[in-house]
Amino acid sequence: MDRSVSQGLILYQNNCIQCHGEDGKGLGALYPPLAGSDYIDKYPDSLACIIKWGRRGKIMVNGLEYDQPMPSNEKLLDEEITHLINYIQNAWGNAGVYTSPEQVEKGLNYCN
């Protein structure tokens, strides 16, 4: 599991760090935090679709409204998305839950 998290860190640095920051705190009211995010706590299964397809429209995180489009990362494989989620869920004092490629693959069938 730690290997997945370490691979996730590298993927995070290559794909996510510009907007969400090395400390996972995001940027102002432009890009939401991933560290201590109540959205991630409430909707952990939403991560796979958001990472793969990006997101448009308003989103509430920790009582603040964000409304910047997030670009997609369609080139990421299911396995890579798994590592990313495992990193995010275990970094910065986050929940510490793990997902698997099977769960991610299943979840990706239900993206809207």
Partner: protein, 209 residues
């Protein structure tokens, strides 16, 4: 061995110690003019422009004169280099914002999307006091022209680039006479450190003169 004249030594010492704080270069094409038998150098300077800021106020090159300016080109939906450029620009803003004669201008190269309202919302969401920081929009061709010919940086539409635009991540340092004094990679913290040091050197130039 002959004794080296003392006053020559002292003279040399004085010369060396007075060279603290190297003068920043003046960047860009220049022309020399013959004026009454003497040659004068005409340096490249930021040309005239008319843009609107996030408050709907018209900003021209006249507003920049007399200020040390840091400029960059961006667009609000930029997924790649802009967020980190903004993080770095926030550092510059924090350090110099309270000073008079200092301004930051961030010019959008996607004015169709980045309207005054969008820029206003964006600047507020950035979360810093952006009083001396203008986010500018206007005519696309004017802006791309200004970027390439005025600020000497690349900026163009490119459907293959992430976000649809290709643009330089440079922070451009402009002096009080609209001349370009440096380019700094706004995506690299150590280069922005250099910029902040050079801003202080530039201020010192005016103080000494």
């Amino acid at each position: 061995m002959k004794r080296f004249p003392l006053f020559v030594l002292l003279g040399l010492l004085l010369m060396v110690s007075c060279n603290e704080g190297k003068r920043l270069p003046i960047i860009g094409p220049r022309t020399t003019l013959e004026v009454d038998g003497a040659t004068d150098t005409l340096y490249h300077s930021i040309p005239g422009f008319v843009l609107m800021n996030q408050e709907g106020i018209e900003i021209t090159e006249e507003d920049l004169k007399g200020n040390i300016v840091v400029a960059d080109f961006f667009f609000t939906t930029c997924p790649s280099i802009c967020p980190i450029m903004k993080t770095q620009m926030l550092r510059v803003n924090e350090e110099f914002a309270t000073q008079e004669d200092f301004r930051i201008i961030s010019i959008s190269i996607d004015p169709r999307h980045d309207t005054i309202e969008v820029l206003k919302d964006y600047s507020q969401r950035l979360g810093a006091s952006t009083a001396g920081w203008d986010f500018l929009t206007g005519d696309l061709d004017d802006i791309l022209d200004l970027a390439q010919k005025g600020f000497l940086v690349s900026a163009a539409e490119d459907s293959t680039a992430p976000g649809g635009y290709i643009h330089s991540g440079a922070f451009i340092l402009i002096d009080k006479e609209l001349r370009i004094r440096g380019f700094y990679d706004g995506t690299k913290e150590e280069k922005v450190d250099l910029l902040m040091r050079d801003i202080k050197n530039l201020e010192a130039e005016y103080f000494d003169s």
